[in-house]
């Protein structure tokens, strides 16, 4: 049964108002809460009982699957291994996300290890939001790992967002791109107080004409700290781009390390990175439109993390 806290967490991390249409798997406090499959999307518990296998039939179009995780049990650190097998020519959306509600001084955490096999010419859109809430002082930790393998002509668009309330995050994204494949990753992380977040990305452009674009947007408030590593490793004629921007507010700190490796003479790799406070010309412009200083700051951050 979903209580009010569960419903609120699900709404925040997976935009779910009640149970979604189509396939879903809701995990609460380390256990399956509810599951539904569809004609084209199967969900089963893996052999080890440590996670799920989501299998999407070839040719499945315009379907979605929700797989949110919610935690509210003091002291629990939940680790789950999920696999996604996306059939050829499918075009689907996967909505994941984890919400932690901490009501005590005991820590709570979740590590979602997700592995995607995206078939020939298949398209997947993956949306993941992380969020922490609750009046408890227990440390909230989220350590997701995402591994993605793109077959010929496959594409994946990944939107990874850490909204707020997560004390510690250590994210790892790994990808291997097949021929003519496309990977777009957009990561948005906002930290505050004494929170820390580390994001490590390793994208291997393995085959000819593969393309990857990694965008990272970070906002550090209070005394929080974020570290961003991204490597584009080109092993064929390919195109890769990293764009990482960080806005420092208050006394936040940031380390950003984009890295490009061209192991093929026809590789085209670029990156752009910036760290700094909100530009004064942006604030002045919005104030000249009638916004107050605080409204202008909020609007710029909101757009930056949109």
């Amino acid at each position: 049964m979903l209580n009010n806290i569960d419903k609120q967490l699900l709404k925040t991390v997976a935009d779910m108002e009640g149970l979604p249409k189509g396939a879903y798997n809701i995990r609460k406090n380390g256990k399956l809460l509810q599951r539904q499959t569809s004609a084209n999307i199967d969900i089963e518990t893996n052999a080890e009982g440590t996670g799920i296998i989501v299998t999407i039939k070839p040719g499945t179009k315009n379907e979605s699957v929700h797989i949110p995780v919610i935690l509210s049990e003091a002291g629990l650190y939940d680790v789950v291994y999920n696999a996604f097998i996306i059939g050829e020519d499918a075009d689907v959306t996967i909505i994941a996300g984890c919400g932690i509600h901490c009501g005590t001084s005991a820590p709570e955490g979740h590590a979602g290890i997700h592995e995607f096999q995206v078939g020939n010419n298949a398209k997947v859109s993956y949306v993941e939001k992380h969020f922490g809430a609750g009046e408890g002082t227990g440390r909230r930790t989220l350590n997701p790992t995402t591994k993605i393998f793109l077959a010929k002509g496959a594409s994946a668009q990944m939107e990874l967002t850490q909204i707020s309330g997560v004390d510690e995050a250590n994210r790892v994204n790994e990808a291997i791109l097949g021929p003519d494949s496309l990977l777009l990753i957009t990561e948005r992380v906002m930290t505050e107080g004494a929170q820390t977040a580390i994001s490590t990305n390793n994208i291997i452009l393995q085959e000819a004409n593969s393309r990857a674009n990694m965008i990272s947007r970070s906002v550090m408030k209070g005394n929080s700290k974020q570290t961003f590593y991204a490597t584009m490793d080109a092993r064929a004629k390919c195109f890769g781009h990293i764009e990482c921007d960080a806005i420092i507010m208050d006394n936040g700190t940031n380390e950003t390390m984009p890295s490009l490796k061209a192991g093929h003479p026809d590789a085209e790799l670029t990156h752009e990175a910036s760290i700094g406070k909100i530009a004064s010309d942006q604030l002045t412009k919005l104030m000249s439109l009638g916004l107050t200083y605080d409204q202008a700051v909020n609007r710029i951050i909101q757009g930056f993390l949109k």
Binding site: R217, D245, A279, D281, Q282, T284, K285, L286, M287, S288, L289, G290, L291, T292, Y293, R299, I300, Q302, G303, F304, L305, K306
Partner: protein, 249 residues
């Protein structure tokens, strides 16, 4: 409508270890009348943009006062001046990540309704409808962002509109319609319009030309009378060092 009273903007300077002050705006007195078109011109570094920024509150005034509709607005913030009906087009508009022309239009007008926003763009005429959902970021060309900047100012229906070099980056075919548009706004509202520009088209369009030189108003009047001053300023901008000697190197 807008009165500048003994206006100064002073910055500290340091020269060979000696510190002092320099007046970027040096005691300007001037009254702008409602519904008139003013073009402010003058050599580079003469203080034109600084003067415009003092009116908008972007730079703080050092001495003197700015009166707007009979009220001393010298201590008002940029936000308060915007809410009082003053709009400002920047010479180099800010670029944002994740903020679209639609977002800025909504901020400028308070309007979110799609049809009303389309009506505004249609009325302004200078930006295609396709601009609406464009991000106002580094991908826009210099001309595109200037068109957006101009449209935002007009869309706000200001009582006083200040345009700092609106023609920079704009193609030749747009400058004429741009002047026509500003004139139309004056006749509609009437908007008091101040344009900082070196462009002859704006000088010809002005009811009053103001020539700023070394932080002072060197001339104010119509273009015909301004031409000798402009010619003089164009010929020699090193008068201080050459002493007016035409043979000086």
């Amino acid at each position: 409508m807008l009165e500048l009273k003994n206006l100064y903007f002073t910055v500290p300077i340091s020269d060979n270890g000696n510190s002092g002050e320099r007046n970027i705006i040096d005691g300007i007195n001037f009254t702008f009348e409602q519904g008139k078109f003013y073009t402010v011109t003058g050599p580079n570094g003469s203080g034109k943009t600084t003067l415009a920024k003092l009116i908008m509150g972007i730079n703080p005034i050092s001495r003197g006062a700015v009166y707007y509709e009979g009220r001393d607005i010298s201590s008002l913030t940029i936000t308060e001046r915007a809410k009082a009906g003053i709009a400002y087009s920047f010479q180099q508009p800010a670029r944002f990540k994740g903020i679209t022309f639609r977002d800025l239009l909504t901020m400028a007008t308070g309007i979110e309704d799609e049809k009303q926003l389309m009506d505004i763009i249609f009325h302004v005429g200078i930006c295609p409808m396709s601009f609406l959902d464009k991000e106002v970021d580094a991908k826009l060309s210099g001309g595109e962002i200037k068109k957006i900047e101009l449209a935002l100012t007009i869309a706000a229906n200001p009582k006083l509109a200040i345009y700092d070099e609106p023609d920079t980056g704009i193609d030749l075919w747009t400058i004429g319609p741009m002047v026509h548009l500003l004139k139309k706004e004056i006749s509609r509202h009437p908007t008091t319009t101040i344009v900082v520009s070196h462009n002859r088209v704006f000088l010809e369009a002005a009811d009053v030309v103001l020539i700023i030189d070394k932080g002072k108003i060197a001339f104010s009047g119509d273009l015909t009378d301004a031409l000798p001053f402009l010619t003089d300023l164009n010929v020699c901008t090193y008068r201080d060092s050459c002493g007016g000697n035409p043979d000086a190197e």
